[in-house]
């Protein structure tokens, strides 16, 4: 398996290196779909320039990266392209290893269940075979590395690639059962962009499951581990924030990074839902709607954790997808991360209801983004509504995609307990409905 992965990495790096040398390397970093005010490379460079001028990078409203990022790039600014390519490769390898390990676990569980004869007899065709699972990790890596969204994001040198790497490493550590490293990477991801906070719940659930500790409020072992993990997480977060403080000896970065993410002052168009909504919002209701939209991202964590407490990895996928749809400054790099997981759920394919429609809409929207942007900004023959309409459609498609996968997952689980070919009372073929 190592050879195809190496080949894949070489291909991916070559594509990126070629693009970095091409004329597209100037065009792509200007695209609003690829970079947001939060992760644009231009702004990182600006922050470094401000630092050189002796001005705090957070004195202005251009730089919104965390202090660790600025210090990181202070040393590797000359090797930025290599850093971004390595980050992508690292993400892919981490996802590859994580999915491989996860598949092993899944297969082992399935084997136990089969041995215990817990599955209905007609469900045999739902059982996953090692043959079809064999290429899944490679497909995941390929989906990440060769996804045009990832490539664009990398060529634009969007720091989104680094965040993705941190999240991928967090997933890897979680799957491998290393609670300390998992907590550290989760803290790092949270430190970079608040939203991965919601990944705390699935990580905890997975680690508990791995240690065979049932989620039971009365069990002291549950509380012990939960407290332990929480402390590790909060401790490392605290260390990072304090380290940032000592690097710049000011707390300015808190409002400039997290305040900026939460209060959405920059309305530069992007593929998300926030920019036009808050550009057109009545001043009186602004605060209310900002709260509603931000809560929306965190809101699904608890119900999803309850519903999917047996399937923490799928929960991670759901959470990442929800974050990338509803976050305040989404870019295509965020989408690429959750899309990388799609091959891991290809056994759900038979239950997906509108995958064709959704994929066509996603493809069409991706093509229409630059077209309508050009019409609005450069040609002047369209207005902002055109671009806005495409972002709406793109987000609807993403929501349908995610909910479709969620539906398919739940349905498969239902079939695994109740049998695949359900019958009505009168013996005719039954259809499943949600009630």
């Amino acid at each position: 398996m190592a050879a195809p992965l190496t080949l894949l990495l070489i291909v991916a790096v070559t594509i990126r290196a070629v693009l970095f040398r091409s004329s597209l390397a100037e065009l792509i970093p200007e695209r609003v779909e690829v970079v947001s005010p939060l992760n644009a490379w231009k702004r990182v460079v600006e922050g470094l320039a401000l630092l050189d001028l002796g001005v705090s990078p957070y004195a202005g409203d251009v730089f919104h990266e965390t202090p660790l990022i600025i210090y990181f790039f202070h040393f590797v600014i000359d090797y930025a392209e290599i850093v971004f390519m390595m980050a992508d490769a690292l993400t892919a390898v981490a996802l590859y290893l994580a999915v491989k390990d996860y598949n092993k676990t899944v297969f082992r569980k399935q084997k136990y269940a089969l041995e215990a004869e817990r599955y209905p007899l007609d469900c045999l065709e739902l059982i996953r075979t090692p043959k079809e699972m064999y290429y899944i990790p490679l497909k995941v890596a390929m989906f990440y590395l060769l996804n045009p969204f990832t490539i664009l994001s990398c060529v634009a040198k969007s720091t989104c690639g680094l965040n993705n790497a941190v999240i991928a490493l967090f997933i890897l550590c979680t799957v491998k059962g290393s609670s300390l490293m998992s907590a550290i990477f989760l803290a790092l991801a949270t430190y970079q962009s608040i939203y991965p906070l919601t990944l705390f719940a699935p990580a905890l659930l997975y680690l508990l499951q791995r240690l065979y500790i049932p989620v039971n409020w009365q069990r002291s072992s549950f509380w012990l581990f939960t407290t332990q993990y929480t402390f590790m997480y909060l401790g490392s977060l605290c260390v990072m924030v304090c380290l940032s403080f000592f690097l710049l000896s000011s707390w300015d970065f808190l409002s400039s990074v997290y305040g900026f993410i939460l209060s959405v002052p920059d309305l530069t168009p992007n593929i998300g839902l926030f920019w036009y909504f808050f550009a057109e919002m009545f001043e009186h209701f602004r605060l209310f709607f900002i709260c509603v939209f931000q809560i929306n991202v965190f809101f699904y964590t608890i119900p999803l954790s309850i519903k999917l407490k047996e399937h923490p990895i799928f929960l991670i996928f759901m959470q990442i997808a929800i974050i990338s749809i509803f976050k305040s400054y989404p870019t295509v790099g965020d989408i690429a991360l959750y899309m990388a997981f799609l091959p891991a759920w290809n056994h759900l394919y038979r239950f997906l209801r509108n995958i064709f429609l959704v994929s066509v809409v996603l493809l069409a929207c991706s093509a229409l983004f630059p077209v309508l942007w050009h019409l609005w900004i450069y040609a002047g023959s369209a207005n902002s509504n055109f671009y806005y309409a495409i972002t709406l459609l793109f987000n609807v498609a993403q929501i349908l995609l995610v909910s479709d996968y969620f539906y398919a997952y739940l349905r498969r689980e239902h079939h695994l307990t109740h049998g695949l070919y359900l019958k009505r009372k009168d013996g005719s073929e039954a259809t499943l409905v949600l009630k």
């Binding site: 202005g60 450069y378 909910s403 039954a430 499943l432």
Partner: protein, 694 residues
């Protein structure tokens, strides 16, 4: 001229209150003589008569006045005209040098010997002031604590346009800082005095300008100002809440001048670190007490002029201010009115300070729109008024006409002529002016009104000396996403490099990227020796960029910087968003090498012994150049559909919420077909009847 003064002075003292009519008659008679003389001079000049020019001696009615014209210009036809000029200037200087003692005597004793003489430059003029205090309405030179001066400078421009610059100066020896104790106002406008004492203002400069000063066509203005409104204030260092005081002050000034100064807030206020140093006395240069703001969009019109005129002691009733008819002033290519308040020295020893209020109004009348294409200007044509009297409260009231390029009257003809000339080094260049003293009744002649007439002889005026420093600015790039600001600074000096301070204030919605800043001159990178950059904060403060750049001689220095256009909230756009947003002018401040010092090989201005080293006198002068303001388009949302956007976006969020909620709360169940309506009705009836259901 001195003789005249003596005349009247003696009369005033001897007759001690003799009627004004007598004096007037006297002056008018003298004026006759003067007119006759000027005609003679003109004829003589035309004939190009060399050697000394002596005008006819005439007898005055009261005293025997020997009118001597010591215009000893050795006009040699073989010489270049510049040499002519140099020579006679040189000679006149010698004249002045050789006769200081008789000059003093003249004032007290000697009979009027009128000559075309050089008036001292401003510094000497200040000493002169008590002597000239002779308007009958003003009490004799008591130690008045306040005084008022007015003047108008008319400069014919090479483009054929004409530039008129009014200056009104009120000096007052008082202490505004004692708060409410200053209650007796005489010449100083009370409305302003109260504001100054309330907000502890040390220096205040405000200007309202309509139009852009075209430096390359018109040369340098006396007082530069950017298009729109500009306000900068130094507060006293006793002020603790500078921002609060500034906020209130702008609102008060907004009321005083009927201007939109209340739009000055933190988003367009900056504290420049080097570009705006105090112009008056005082050594507090801590920029914490400085506030600077420009409103490039401000439209200046009559409603701003009227309150401005009201601040003058004579209002627009008398003096030079009668010329300010708004229908003429605003029918011009450039109009700028300003007010400068600052502490200055009382005398040359500077033992005590006085407050100076300087009100200026600059206007350029266009050759074609105001002048009907004819190179012929008169006060009446410009202002639709003529001058009839000085402001009775003014200690001096003069009209200057720039005749530097016209020493022999070959370019234009000025009538009525005046015997008085004045020379001053203005903006590094030595200029010669014909002076009309309005406090002297003789100036008005028989018609009792002064209507100067400038008539061009040649259709084309000569070449203008290129301004040594000049700035331009424009926005490059297309589309509404990004752009690039280009600032061009021209150093036209042939061999001297000099440093300039560039100040740029850019609103926050154009996000500047300082790392894209490039400064190039002559194709090479020109690293600024000092950069003060304050990045913007969204909706809070603008970008401020100050740079010290060395401009190589005879070069263009280009400063470029990229920016990104922000999408604003729909309520933050102006009512005409597609018109664009204004960005205030860049300010280029520099110590420019003087033109006087520029030609060291000519003996034009200085005698040989003084011209070996570059002239020490005014070897460089301070200059401020404002570039064009910019008009930048921003992307706009659709203003007509906030409801639609709110509904549609919320729908998408609801779709997300709804589908997840469905999956989270419901469970899969086998669908049992629901019985039809008829069957259900039948079952209800059956239940009522107690019969088993279907």
């Amino acid at each position: 001229m001195a003789a005249h003064r003596c005349n009247i002075f003696m009369l005033v003292f001897v007759l001690c209150g003799l009627t004004y009519v007598f004096v007037r008659a006297d002056i008018e008679d003298t004026n006759h003589v003067k007119d006759a003389e000027s005609v003679a001079v003109d004829i003589a000049r035309k004939a190009n008569i060399g050697a000394s020019l002596r005008s006819t001696k005439t007898e005055d009615q009261t005293q025997a006045a020997e009118k001597e014209r010591q215009w000893e210009a050795e006009t040699n036809p073989a010489d270049a005209p510049s040499d002519n000029k140099a020579d006679h200037v040189h000679d006149t200087m010698q004249n002045l040098d050789s006769r200081p003692a008789p000059y003093a005597k003249d004032q007290t004793q000697e009979a009027a010997e009128e000559e075309r003489q050089w008036e001292a430059t401003e510094v000497k003029e200040a000493d002169h002031v008590p002597d000239t205090m002779q308007t009958p309405d003003v009490p004799p030179p008591t130690p008045a604590k306040d005084q008022f001066q007015e003047e108008l400078v008319i400069r014919p421009l090479h483009s054929g346009d004409i530039y008129a610059s009014f200056q009104f100066r009120t000096m007052w020896d008082t202490d505004f800082l004692r708060g409410s104790k200053v209650s007796h106002y005489r010449l100083f406008p009370k409305s302003l005095g109260q504001v100054i004492s309330k907000f502890s203002v040390r220096e205040l400069h405000i200007s309202f300008t309509q139009g852009y000063w075209r430096t390359m066509q018109w040369g340098q203005p006396f007082l530069p100002s950017p298009p729109g409104a500009e306000l900068w204030v130094w507060f006293q260092d006793t002020v603790t809440d500078v921002d609060g005081a500034w906020k209130e002050l702008t609102n008060v000034l907004s009321g005083i001048f009927c201007a939109s100064l209340n739009f000055i807030d933190s988003t367009n206020t900056v504290q420049p670190s080097a570009s705006f140093k105090p112009l008056g006395l005082g050594n507090v240069t801590d920029q914490r007490f400085l506030r600077y703001a420009v409103l490039p969009r401000e439209i200046v019109c009559t409603e701003n002029l009227t309150p401005w005129k009201k601040l003058l002691p004579c209002g627009s009733k008398a003096g030079l201010a009668v010329l300010m008819k708004s229908e003429k002033l605003f029918h011009s290519s450039f109009h700028s009115q300003a007010l400068h308040f600052r502490p200055v020295c009382q005398d040359w020893k500077c033992k005590s300070t006085v407050w100076e209020l300087r009100q200026t109004l600059n206007v350029v009348f266009d050759l074609h729109t105001s002048g009907q294409g004819k190179r012929e200007w008169s006060l009446f044509k410009m202002f639709s008024r003529t001058l009839t009297e000085a402001c009775p409260l003014a200690s001096s009231s003069k009209v200057y006409v720039d005749v530097t390029d016209n020493p022999q009257g070959e370019l234009f003809e000025l009538s009525p002529t005046t015997p008085l000339l004045s020379q001053a080094v203005v903006l590094g260049d030595r200029r010669t002016y014909s002076v009309y003293d309005l406090t002297n009744q003789a100036t008005f002649g028989q018609t009792r009104s002064l209507n100067m007439l400038l008539r061009w002889r040649a259709a084309e005026s000569g070449d203008m000396l290129r301004p040594l420093l000049h700035g331009e600015r424009y926005v490059a790039g297309y589309g509404l996403q990004t752009g690039e600001i280009h600032t061009l600074m021209y150093n036209n000096h042939p061999y001297r490099a000099f440093p300039v301070l560039l100040l740029d204030t850019v609103p926050w919605y154009l996000r500047l990227y300082i790392h894209t800043l490039t400064v190039t001159s002559k194709g090479r990178d020109n690293k600024p020796s000092y950069i003060h950059y304050q990045p913007s904060k969204d909706r809070l403060r603008p970008h401020l960029l100050e740079m010290l750049v060395q401009l190589p001689p005879n070069s263009v220095t280009e400063v470029t910087m990229q920016f990104e256009r922000a999408l604003l909230k729909w309520t933050e756009y102006t009512p005409d968003p597609n018109h664009g947003f204004y960005v205030g002018s860049s300010v280029i401040s520099a110590l420019v090498p003087s033109v006087v010092a520029m030609d060291t090989n000519s003996t034009r201005e200085c005698p040989l012994f003084s011209s070996f080293f570059p002239c020490k006198e005014e070897s460089s002068y301070f200059m401020r150049v404002y570039t064009e303001p910019l008009l930048v388009n921003l992307p706009t949302p659709d203003f007509s559909m906030p409801y639609n956007v709110i509904c549609l976006t919320c729908t998408v969020v609801a779709v997300g919420y709804g589908s997840l909620y469905n999956l989270l709360t419901r469970t899969f169940q086998v669908e049992e077909p629901s019985p039809g309506l008829a069957k259900r009705l039948a079952n209800i009836i059956r239940r009522l009847r107690g019969v088993p259901l279907l």
